[in-house]
């Protein structure tokens, strides 16, 4: 029972993580005879006896209850088809809107082609058919602002613990920001401030794998905006929806 890797080490598929039966393979690893072997590119996470891999790349796989940002790509009889930056398209039914939509009503009045919206995934089937809903607080059409794409696996870093990171960017720049779990981020504010917010998000994306990220981003934002940040206050909602 020996572990051959350190916590946070980069591993490649086929790398042996541990030998002997003392460890348990978690996500992104498998057991072959007595060895535990990595099956994904990523950083090792040692949690007691469980060895799992935190992936660093790959496409977004839809998950139930995720908040995502999508683009309307088609209008059907009873709803919309939405592109959510994943291998699978999502369906937003006209029954899943806050207001009641009559039969035969013109659906473009609610969401038209090429418009972006923030929605929640209500269901994902085994064949990865995805259902969306906009019947919750904060879920709506996104008007104005801009959409940026980031690596899906960096989204938790951009949100921060209980939304601390995104709240910090919002406080410093005064922008409205919504982070979709699928790697799309909506930023809306004054043009100059918007640029700072986008730059900060890109910085988080490229530097997310070292410690002291929050501190570094805080000083970066204070330098750029001249706003003194006080992060002891109340924290925002998970995706920055409030």
């Amino acid at each position: 029972m020996t572990i051959l890797v350190q916590d946070k080490e980069v591993v490649v598929p086929g790398d042996t993580l541990a030998e002997g039966m003392g460890y348990i393979p978690g996500y992104g690893s498998y057991r072959q005879a007595t060895k535990i072997i990595a099956s994904r590119l990523g950083l090792v996470n040692v949690e007691g006896k469980v060895l799992k891999i935190i992936p660093v790349s790959g496409k977004y796989l839809p998950k139930r209850n995720d908040i995502v940002i999508g683009k309307v790509i088609d209008i059907l009889m009873m709803g919309w088809r939405v592109e959510i930056n994943s291998p699978y398209q999502a369906m937003l039914s006209s029954k899943e809107t806050p207001e009641f939509i009559e039969k035969n009503e013109d659906l473009t009045r609610y969401f038209n082609l090429d418009e972006y919206l923030v929605a929640k995934i209500t269901n994902v089937t085994s064949q990865n058919l995805v259902d969306l809903s906009v019947r919750d607080q904060g879920l709506r059409k996104l008007k104005g602002g801009r959409i940026i794409y980031v690596n899906t696996h960096k989204v938790p870093r951009i949100i921060g613990k209980k939304g601390s990171m995104v709240t910090m960017i919002k406080q410093a720049t005064g922008c409205r920001i919504i982070v979709g779990q699928n790697g799309l981020i909506w930023v809306d504010g004054e043009p100059a401030k918007e640029n700072i917010a986008v730059e900060t998000i890109m910085k988080i994306e490229s530097e997310s794998h070292y410690s002291g990220l929050t501190e570094r981003i805080k000083t970066f934002l204070e330098e750029k905006t001249g706003v003194k940040l006080d992060m002891t206050g109340e924290k925002g909602d998970y995706n920055g929806l409030q």
């Binding site: 598929p13 086929g14 590119l41 790349s57 496409k59 291998p87 064949q127 990865n128 490229s206 794998h209």
Partner: protein, 287 residues
Amino acid sequence: MVYNKRVDGRGFDELRPIEAKAGVIPKADGSAYFKMGKTVAYAAVYGPRELFPKFMQDPKKGILRVNYNMMPFSGAGERVRPGPSRRSKEISMVSEKALSTVLNLDDYPNAVVDVFIELPQTDAGSRCCGINAAAIALADAGLAMRDLVSAVAVGQADNRVIVDLNYEEEHLPEFVDHVDSEHVADIPVAMVPSTGEITLLQMDGIVNREALMEALHKAAAAIPQISAIQRNALKQKFHGETGEGLNGNNGHNGQSAGNGNSGATTQTAPADNESDSTDTGADLTQG
């Protein structure tokens, strides 16, 4: 006379100098560059993404689709006629089969992973070089894989079993008068390094049983060296980024901001490691 010295002065079991890099194509989901001697391969992975035409979809698991392409100016002599040919279609198919055994696409029903292997310069061993690049690119795309796949060509030139043939050796009768084509064989082999499974085995030419077995043993000895270089290329991608970040002088876009210092470190570092690994093949067998 026997072939007692190789055309390029290498040892009989020695690989050509190898260079590898992961993440070279920003728009792709995963990509890699792999160079063996004068053969250069780029692999780009797109997906998993929706598969059309719909009848090709597999509702049980995602499929892999490999496209091997030699660029018109890449060959050692004549211009290669662009577009799919009998040869490139076959190589696409065998590369696909060589790679799909390690790949797990159960999470992506009805989807496809596209791999494009492009060869801007070739000097024999192009399908092996392509497979090596594609394996790195697939791992870089974050797909679930049992292991990487490494490939090398072994063969025989004038009764001598050799590893990693170049163009002259593959076409020895054209270059050396006394050698006839009966004594030349080219055997591309792809293996899963950790288990030793052979996922690609082709042969062009004639060898006897002893020579074939000897060639396969030599391939098995060379595979771990290649695998170590592939692994190193993937890890280097992160160390490169780490280096830039710690210097604190990078722009907001880590990969495209190739400013003087950090760019230099990221480029020289893999080169050093690779020359080490090719020289000291013995230490790397565990890698």
